[in-house]
Symmetry: C2
Subunit: 422 residues, 2 copies
């Protein structure tokens, strides 16, 4: 444990030192090094595939589920797509240096809010190796140093990727400590990492709920959470002319991602009692045809007897699989109250032809993304046009919903005078 | 303890319920109720002075320092100024409902970032009773419910102020739980309060460092810290034509607030070795003439022998009194490194005629406010034109530096489609 303390302290110090250099790099230098990283990823393809092979072999030996092994795998196509991801981030507008506000006070003081990097980011994530290059590129673009703590399944792949990035940084005369991987997957070092508030400015945990809870409990560094997505679609009374759209959106929101294992998939459908007789059974049939298990309240069972009865626990559950919970509600008010009580403030949608209902839902549902007449699956950095995302914040502070490069910045007040005193 | 748990749970639930109403209030209704509160404060002047009398009597009995008793005191003038503070906040632009960004995606989805209230704020603060009405008014203006936990010295005054606000809210048909005071100053209930992450979205502790550390340790709710202000002024080599300005700014930054007991007072002066022979002794004489104790490094002692020798601990100290630490540095780089190592990221200034030095200092000093050629004392919500402030954040996330009403908001993504699926 004492060893870990010294090790993580060194990581933190080195990251802090690198962040001072990154904060003063001009935009062109950042674009150049990101393109250089993309090229290096392509050139080192065989080394990456070799390192990845060790992870795959270990995963198969450990009897990991085939779907998880598949997520872990690097091949020509995935490596090309990693390189393209880095190039895409390189091409984005540089958020650093933007003047967010600027004005002159009556005493002549010129006041500006200048967008600057946050400093040092500590990022926890799980198995897909492309997240490593995406996160590193987003942090470099926004002028931050990053300490990466990936899943143990992808350890060799991550080490190879970070090695390539480090070499590219050195060749560009940038401190390679700008992108560091925690070189151990021992859980014992995590508490020590989370106490480095002297060196680290922000922790982003992206993973299972137990990981996130543990991080919040241990951390003296501010945390941006990426919690569960217990997402809802409310089908309003005013849906008389939109049967096809309702059916398509519900099926898309539940089933368009393989296995439904994604945070913006819908987990619960709420039908207004006037819409339910028209639409509930049809939507259930569409979903059942895709292999979705349906759990419903009593009124759902009356309209679609094949539904399994839902229990109280269902309403608070993010299934992350082909299961959906369905409830018939008396009013928009009941739907809003249900979502604010049982939802996870991630993404919730209303399907309606009524402008007043849409307005009321948007104003009153307290979620990061509130969607009118479209699939919840759009709640995503790419779909919102942010380029790559480092996570989807379910917090309300700093950044909410999909987070891109500009969400990895803060501002400083720059005040320029000519001798003013107060 | 179990009693506190139920009590604070009720506070949290009621605040959450009130916040749902506040989020949908239109701007005019908020202006009306704030003006009504200002009127009520004026009308209830004698009741306020009577309640305040109990606090004053208790403070005198407890032998509180006369300066602290003075801060606690309400009189006609201070009550009028409380009412004016609320009116001023009423007159500010409403931050809620602003569209921060808005665009259409290629698939026709209309995407907006809509500014909305955060929800429920828990606010810890100390003795001045006007902070109670300021904080309540800022939260109402920004559509948030607030739970106030004031210092025990001001308990009766705070209860009277919150009582007046509650009556005014009721008369306007607004849930009085929008502004609640914790009706006990028992420290034992604090940990229970800080676990109410289901109901409270943000904790702002404003007070001593030990309070803030305790809050960070206990809280499962995100915290915006208002830490110490170990502020610096660096006097650059290029100050040949600005002797008067340097002297005035240094004296103003140290002594313009009574006793120097304010977070934006300067604590340390760093003189470039080329400026020191010209300016150091003169600045020290000006400060000494105001009663400031001077502690310096060796090179300071050589130029101003009356200086006491500074110890290593001095550089990390926020004196909050008429003491200043002085160091001679070899370069701008050394000044920047010293500030980033020993400062508290609150406010730091450079005095220089050299545009390149100013630019480099602004970019590299990692503080909430970076000031060129003016007093550090300007780092203040009022001076920056924000109207009242709820605190000065020394955090880098969400809000940095002086925080006004718009810093008590977040945003939601509002996505409007016409049947789009992904």
């Amino acid at each position: 444990m004492e060893d870990w303390k010294a090790y993580v302290e060194d990581l933190g110090k080195a990251a802090r030192r690198a962040s001072a250099q990154l904060a003063t790099l001009d935009g062109a230098a950042k674009v150049r090094v990101l393109r250089h990283i993309a090229d290096a990823i392509r050139k080192q393809k065989s080394a990456l595939i070799e390192a990845n092979g060790k992870d795959i072999a270990a995963a198969q030996q450990a009897d990991l589920a085939p779907a998880l092994v598949e997520r872990l795998k690097l091949n020509d196509k995935r490596i090309e797509s990693m390189a393209e991801g880095v190039e895409q981030i390189a091409g984005q507008t540089d958020p650093v240096g933007q003047i967010l506000e600027g004005y002159v006070r009556p005493n002549g003081l010129r006041i500006q809010k200048l967008r600057v990097p946050i400093g040092v980011v500590l990022f926890f994530y799980e198995s897909r190796p492309n997240v490593t290059s995406d996160a590193a590129a987003l942090c470099l673009k926004s002028g931050n140093a990053i300490i990466l703590r990936g899943g143990k399944e992808a350890f060799h792949s991550n080490r190879a990727i970070v090695g390539i990035i480090g070499t590219a940084l050195k060749e560009a005369a940038i401190d390679p400590a700008a992108v560091q991987l925690v070189e151990s997957t021992d859980r014992a070092l995590v508490p020590a990492l989370l106490k480095l508030d002297r060196y680290i400015d922000l922790v982003i945990p992206r993973g299972g709920e137990s990981l996130i809870r543990a991080v919040i409990k241990e951390s003296t560094i501010p945390v941006l959470k990426h919690f569960t997505g217990n997402c809802h679609i409310y089908i309003d009374a005013a849906t008389g002319q939109m049967e096809q759209k309702v059916r398509q959106i519900c099926v898309n929101a539940k089933t368009s991602y393989p296995g439904g294992a994604v945070c913006n998939a819908v987990e619960h459908l709420l039908f207004h009692k006037q819409a339910a007789p028209r639409l509930l059974a049809k939507v259930c049939e569409d979903l059942a045809a895709k292999g979705v298990e349906i759990r419903g309240d009593e009124r759902t069972g009356a309209l679609y007897p094949q539904a399994k009865p839902a229990t109280d626990a269902d309403w608070d559950t993010e299934y992350l699989s082909f299961v959906v919970g369905i409830k018939v509600v008396d009013s928009l008010d009941e739907a809003v109250a249900h979502i604010n009580e049982h939802g996870s403030r991630h993404t919730d949608a209303i399907l309606t032809e009524d402008i007043a209902a849409a307005h009321s839902f948007v104003l009153r549902v307290d979620s990061a993304s509130v969607i009118v007449n479209a699939s919840t699956r759009f709640a995503d950095g790419g779909e919102y046009g942010l380029g790559a995302e480092i996570g989807i914040s379910t917090d309300k502070l700093h950044a909410r919903g999909p987070m891109g490069a500009s969400d990895l910045t803060t501002y400083k007040w720059v005040v320029t005078g000519d001798g003013q005193v107060r």
